[in-house]
């Protein structure tokens, strides 16, 4: 059986795409409105890509597909993603 993981499991893959620590980013589920941090989402990695789902409603928050030379990131299930930046 494949056991889902938490959002820390995708920190490395997302860190390759973003220059900030995405695991501590806040997000709102586009399905049910629940707010949380990326580290708390439910992650399925035993699939052709990575699928992150809302812990409350199972809505697909984001999907990540990694080809050898390209990556696809789908965030349509996320209402917003709030990333911490350095002060400007």
């Amino acid at each position: 059986m494949s056991v889902p993981l938490d959002g820390n499991a995708i920190a490395g893959a997302l860190g390759e795409l973003f220059a900030v620590d995405v695991s501590v980013a806040r997000l709102e589920c586009g399905g049910c409105g629940m707010e949380g941090v990326v580290a708390e989402v439910v992650v399925y990695i035993d699939a052709p890509g990575v699928v992150a789902r809302c812990r409350a409603c199972d809505n697909v928050l984001f999907r990540l597909v990694r080809a050898p030379d390209r990556a696809w990131l789908d965030l349509r299930g996320v209402a917003y993603l709030r990333l911490r930046t350095t002060s400007t």
Partner: protein
């Protein structure tokens, strides 16, 4: 010559069966891939539906589906994550049987599954004895982790096309991309041509 050296002796990179597509390695177990929680589908409410491009619908409940003529088939499976499993035994209803008598000019199919998964393919790839809705595996009922009570089986394409927990097929005039086809995976997915990712 095959059989002299045990499989695995040279490791996964040296698998050389003529039934193994490029870039694949052989497995003996049956890996479980899943993009979400395993739906627990109640057979009392299970229904399979085919809808045509004109809105015509045909549905089967579980007893009606079981009453359809079934095939026992042995096929090779090729997953885009690079494992292949040879000579797997299934029991299921040919999609030809399900489409028999349905009038359609559709060229495309969008397959729906319990849990929200979708996948698309040309309707021609579901015809001609190449695809089944399978409910038996290896002599037993298909288990939920492998897609039971019923899954699509389209063994000539990468396994993501063989939707687990299948609940219906929409016949469409236009192609609409499914769950993985929307996100980088190849629209067709022929393992012999190594069509893993989309070109753009």
């Amino acid at each position: 010559m095959a059989g002299i050296v045990s499989p695995g002796f040279f490791g996964r990179r040296r698998d050389a069966s003529p039934r193994l597509p490029p870039g694949q390695y052989l497995v003996r177990d049956f890996p479980v891939l899943s993009a979400g929680p395993t739906p627990r589908v109640n057979l009392d409410t299970w229904e399979f539906r085919i809808a045509t491009e004109t809105g015509e619908k045909r549905t089967w409940d579980w007893p009606a589906f079981q009453a359809l003529p079934a095939d026992d088939v042995t096929v090779d499976l090729h997953c885009v994550t690079k494992w292949s499993k040879l000579a797997t035994s299934w029991r299921g209803v040919s999609v030809d049987t399900l489409l028999d008598g349905i009038e359609t000019d559709a060229e495309y199919a969008l397959v729906h599954a319990f849990g929200g998964y979708t996948t698309n393919l040309p309707l021609a790839d579901l015809r001609g004895g190449k695809a089944w809705v399978a409910y038996g595996y290896d002599g037993a009922d298909l288990t939920p982790e492998h897609g039971g009570p019923a899954r699509l089986l389209v063994p000539h394409l990468y396994l993501w096309k063989s939707a687990k927990w299948v609940r219906g097929i929409d016949l469409r005039r236009t192609d609409e991309r499914g769950f993985w086809e929307q996100l980088g995976y190849h629209n067709y997915g022929d393992p012999w041509l190594e069509q893993r990712y989309s070109a753009d």
